[in-house]
């Protein structure tokens, strides 16, 4: 039996297909401005990878900000619930999920069964989100993965004091104009985002194992600096970016089994 989950985020559209509750295929593409189309496309890609057709999917669940745009979804579930379930699937010992999304960051306290016990989300501000990192990477003309590596290679850190993404960007430009070292700036930027995240995470009781999900998990700079701030090891499971879609597909599977 096949179930599917589609996660339409602020930046990326992701899909996951399960066979009898086990991960079979995934896909991820930029969400673009036409989210409804991206939802259809990303599912097609995952279906092709799985080698099955749309009508073989028994149940489909949409999640993420654009979840209402997932055409043909049987129901929608929020990202918080889906990321918790997905992270639990990828790492069953998880008790704390940190998800850094494009426009939202969240810290979720998870029960032994993958249920949400409690969660907090960032203030209504882009600081501490994937968007912040993206803007900064662009300012330094780096791609996301390279940006993190650059930060880790730095021997110094330039402190970025503005919380606001827009002001932080102009701060970075000022530093660049003053001849600051690019790696030191990258390190400072990563530290700024890690500090914001650590504050957010501190609002729930943090228990091991801590798992990082969402696209930003691919950035080693953020992972290391967050570990430093939280004084804990952080696990980045394979498919971290797809945790939301996997969680949605899992919930779809449980829905069917509970019927």
């Amino acid at each position: 039996m096949y179930t599917a989950g589609i996660d339409i985020g602020a930046i990326t559209a992701k899909a996951a297909i399960l066979r009898d509750g086990e991960l079979l295929a995934t896909a991820a593409i930029p969400a673009g401005y036409d989210r409804a189309r991206a939802a259809g496309r990303v599912l097609e890609l995952a279906l092709a990878q799985a080698g099955i057709s749309r009508d073989q999917i028994v149940r489909l669940i949409g999640t993420g900000y654009g979840r209402v745009l997932v055409h043909g979804a049987d129901r929608t579930v929020t990202e918080v619930t889906c990321h918790a379930r997905g992270a639990h699937y990828l790492c069953p010992e998880v008790r704390t999920v940190i998800d850094i999304g494009g426009q939202d960051s969240k810290a979720i306290s998870v029960g032994a069964d993958g249920r949400v016990l409690e969660f907090v989300m960032n203030d209504k501000c882009a600081a501490g989100t994937g968007r912040f990192l993206e803007v900064m990477a662009q300012a330094l003309e780096e791609d996301l993965a390279g940006f993190g590596a650059l930060a880790l290679a730095a021997s110094r850190r330039v402190t970025i004091s503005s919380t606001c993404t827009v002001f932080a960007e102009s701060e970075v430009i000022t530093h660049l104009a003053a001849g600051a070292d690019k790696a030191a700036l990258a390190a400072g930027i990563h530290e700024a985002i890690a500090t914001r995240l650590a504050t957010l995470v501190g609002r729930i009781p943090v228990r091991d194992v801590v798992v990082l999900t969402g696209g930003v998990a691919l950035n080693v700079g953020v992972v290391r600096m967050l570990e430093e701030k939280l004084e804990r090891r952080i696990v980045v499971p394979g498919y971290a970016q797809l945790a939301g879609a996997i969680g949605a597909a899992l919930i779809a599977y449980t829905d069917v089994m509970d019927r």
Partner: protein
């Protein structure tokens, strides 16, 4: 909206409030008008026949009518910072530009009475008003209450100022305070407060016949008409209607599944709309800290000590541990399943304790708490997408 039966008495209260504003603007030509803060000892002014008006209530009205943002911009361009309480910004905006304000602003005041038991904002706000209108200002200084009951010297200090207030009002209006009138006014206020307590207690029923947004509409008279017969009448009717609902097993939210507690001031520009996703999920806000702030009983026999105690002990003038106890008591008494806190950008004294309270609610009662950032009247600080997302995730986790 039809799935959620409206209470008839709320319609009556809305009518009363409409008339209140119209009547007061007519009567303002005949009687002295005082602007008062929401925590001011209005019974004294009421008993002296001085018309009272509440800029804060007016701010809420601007919010509810969607006029607050425009008015805030007026005061912001005059130099008031965007971090200032949006009631103050809305009202000052209305004072500066009455043409674009609901009801063309409030009638001009003859006097200003500012009581500092709610915040420090009102002090500067009223000083600004004194300058705009060139009218005398009385500041009733109420110290922060760190113990319950408050230290005796605080009670003595406040009670002495109440006498000063009377003398000041007499000097400025030529009106005398008749003890008999004060007694009668206090009696009405006491009765209204005790009816209000009973109304709030209805939330203990399962299902609850009343939901927080209903209370936000219903509260206007306990704030603005306390000490009048009208308030007592409104609340008698509401109480009777609630009794009937209970007798017939009618809940404010059909199919009540979750019972929640609300913290902080209402989000006036989305009064019912905000609660819609909760209602749809069968979640009823059976208690709240906001409307509960008007339940401090007044003593008739020792009027001055009684008023001093009541006005010192208002919710946001209390220390953290007393506030915590109040909230815990509400949570237990109303058997709630979770708490939603509005982190209100405007009202710092109300919001400042929220993270501590959240910790305690979780540790001691195991209750999930959702904190939502917004503002009571400035809708520019409300991000609907983000808020809907948090509400949906919270409801899923219950």
């Amino acid at each position: 909206m039809s799935r959620y039966p409206r209470l008839q008495s709320l319609q009556e209260i809305s009518e009363v409030m409409k008339r209140y504003y119209v009547q007061r603007s007519i009567m303002a030509r005949l009687r002295p008008v005082a602007y008062v803060t929401s925590g001011a000892p209005v019974e004294i002014l009421e008993a002296m026949g001085i018309l009272t008006l509440y800029p804060e209530n007016y701010g809420a009205l601007c919010g509810a009518q969607g006029a607050a943002v425009g008015l805030c911009q007026v005061s912001e361009s005059a130099g008031y910072p965007a971090d200032l309480c949006s009631y103050a910004r809305s009202h000052l905006g209305a004072a500066m530009s009455p043409k674009q304000a609901p009801l063309h602003g409030l009638p001009r005041p003859d006097l200003l009475v500012c009581c500092t038991n709610i915040c420090g904002t009102v002090l500067k706000w009223y000083e600004a008003l004194a300058e705009v209108y060139r009218v005398p200002l009385f500041v009733l200084d109420v110290p922060f209450q760190r113990t319950t009951p408050p230290e005796p010297h605080i009670v003595a200090y406040v009670s002495e100022q109440l006498h000063e207030l009377i003398a000041w009002l007499q000097a400025h209006t030529g009106r005398r305070l008749k003890q008999e009138r004060l007694r009668q006014t206090l009696q009405y206020a006491r009765e209204a407060v005790s009816l209000w307590q009973e109304i709030l207690a209805f939330g203990q029923h399962r299902p609850s016949p009343i939901n927080a947004p209903d209370l936000f509409v219903a509260m206007a008279p306990i704030v603005t008409l306390r000490g009048t017969r009208k308030a007592v009448e409104c609340y008698r009717h509401l109480k009777a209607e609630l009794e009937e609902r209970v007798a017939r097993g009618i809940g404010a939210v059909p199919g009540e599944r979750y019972r929640l507690l609300w913290d902080n001031i209402a989000i006036w520009y989305r009064l019912y709309r905000f609660f819609r996703p909760f209602m749809d999920a069968g979640a009823c806000f059976v208690a709240d800290t906001y409307t509960n702030a008007w339940t401090v009983a007044l003593e008739v026999d020792e009027p001055f000590t009684g008023m001093a105690l009541a006005y010192t002990g208002v919710f946001i003038n209390l220390d953290l541990s007393t506030r915590l106890q109040t909230i815990m008591k509400l949570a237990r008494r109303f058997q709630v399943d979770g708490v939603v806190m509005h982190a209100n950008r405007s009202c710092k004294p109300f919001s400042i304790t929220q993270y501590e309270v959240r910790e305690a609610l979780r540790a001691e009662l195991g209750l999930p708490v959702l904190i939502l950032e917004a503002d009571m009247t400035d809708s520019r600080l409300y991000n609907d997408g983000a808020i809907q997302e948090r509400i949906a995730a919270f409801l899923e986790s219950l």
